[in-house]
Symmetry: C2
Subunit: 269 residues, 2 copies
């Protein structure tokens, strides 16, 4: 039998989802079915959710678990009538914070937009555009503006990592594919010499690289075991020779790669 | 005086950060200085963090607040000796879950990688590549594979939204710029007729659009008040005429735009 989990929010649901998944990952012998219910911001929607939860409880025969970041007391009151186990993030942490700060919280849904928020938003969009404009070795002349320049062989995860750094943290991340020619001579491309402190190398296992490349271009030299092993071996030597900091992308998610890079450099989140 | 906040994690820190920021947004009269400390996964790092926290408490004269998603008891024990108010997400929610599921949690840092995780990861990367390959009207011949096709005038937020849908939710999102010619005749481009159920329109205020375009190309026809007002007005009429669902991007973050689109369509997160 599968355990049903609901992630509930009056906003995007991302916090509730992430928190819930973090906690559920501690129970890997249980099979979970999850559903996110965002923007539950009025009583009508809340009542519909209660109905959905109770139907699920009945059909499934197992009490569902509910992670909630709901803020409004009247909406929460309705949800407390559902048959689920309700884990209320807001309720538990807001009281100690009120006590600590010696003021009442606003109980308002959503953040008040400030000029700071708009600036941060504009900056993230700018960073995403920068990552796109400098993807895969494009526009080297814009490298002076980069916070970081990711290096790696084709399909080692450069583009998603650069985009995530930009989208999540507003970091200006360019990425550049190291070519076979560079690899044969263990030489950095000439542009790289003036930006050495911005370089960061991605590493990947040859086997995993072969898998990814085969999916893209099967039975090619590009996806052959020999070629993948050669490129992986050579780029490692190049990183060592040039003392470029590196990270292994093989078994990591984009989130982990990006945050590890930030931790290993002096970049600001 | 500013209140210092630490977001602490033995992993990426993203959950701790998001949860903390959600809660802090309820106290908008206080000025916060936040710092994220990810990958605190051994005792040495934990001791360094305690030192950092205590130094901050002393210099600042205000007790810092600590949001923690730490899992390992021995690491947490060290942190409990700091001078901060520690809000321990793990501690509070893991007990009711253990009771509900009638098993002990693993107390292991990080998720066990499963084949499912790898598949989900591959799917997200595939979606990111799809969004890149179909950005700004590229590769219309790949639209059959799209889960959604975002429409909008230039600089209305199509690209970041498509990338976020792909990165966060593995949704195959293409995007297409509606041109002036389309706008003059209130006509959808011909390719759109066979994909009408995938279309989703982005709207933006003329004033905000002008701001964004001015940043990019000041004193041009493209960024003029008249042109921005014309495009915004005409595209609204086009959406109405063709009964295309829409969302306003003006005052929203990428996260909100993306999750609202998911909520308004039948896309799966």
């Amino acid at each position: 039998m599968k355990q049903t989990i609901f992630f509930l929010s009056d906003q995007t649901g991302i916090t509730s989802e992430l928190l819930g998944q973090t906690l559920l990952s501690q129970f890997d012998s249980i099979e979970f079915v999850t559903q996110t219910l965002p923007y539950i911001d009025n009583e009508k929607k809340a009542l519909e959710v209660v109905e959905l939860i109770n139907r699920n409880a009945q059909e499934n025969g197992i009490r569902p678990v509910l992670f909630s970041t709901l803020v409004q007391p009247e909406i929460k009151a309705i949800l407390h009538h559902s048959q689920a186990l309700m884990l209320d993030v807001f309720e538990h942490f807001i009281a100690p914070l009120e006590q600590e700060f010696k003021i009442h919280s606003s109980h308002r849904v959503g953040k008040k937009r400030t000029t700071e928020d708009k600036k941060a938003y504009d900056y993230r969009i700018k960073a995403v555009n920068y990552a796109l404009n400098t993807d895969d070795g494009l526009s080297i002349k814009q490298y002076a503006k980069a916070d970081i320049i990711l290096l790696g062989v084709s399909r080692s995860g450069k583009t998603p990592t650069a985009l995530y750094l930009a989208m999540q943290f507003g970091i200006m991340a360019a990425n550049y594919p190291i070519t076979e020619e560079d690899l044969e001579n263990y030489e950095l491309p000439t542009w790289a010499l003036q930006f050495k402190d911005k370089l960061f190398g991605l590493e990947i296992d040859a086997k995993r690289l072969q898998e990814i490349r085969t999916d893209r271009r099967p039975n090619s030299r590009y996806s052959s075991q020999q070629q993948c092993e050669f490129e992986v071996r050579q780029i490692k030597k190049l990183y060592t020779k040039e003392a470029i900091p590196t990270i292994k992308t093989t078994i990591r998610s984009v989130e982990e790669i990006a945050t590890k890079i930030i931790a290993k450099t002096n970049l600001k989140r």
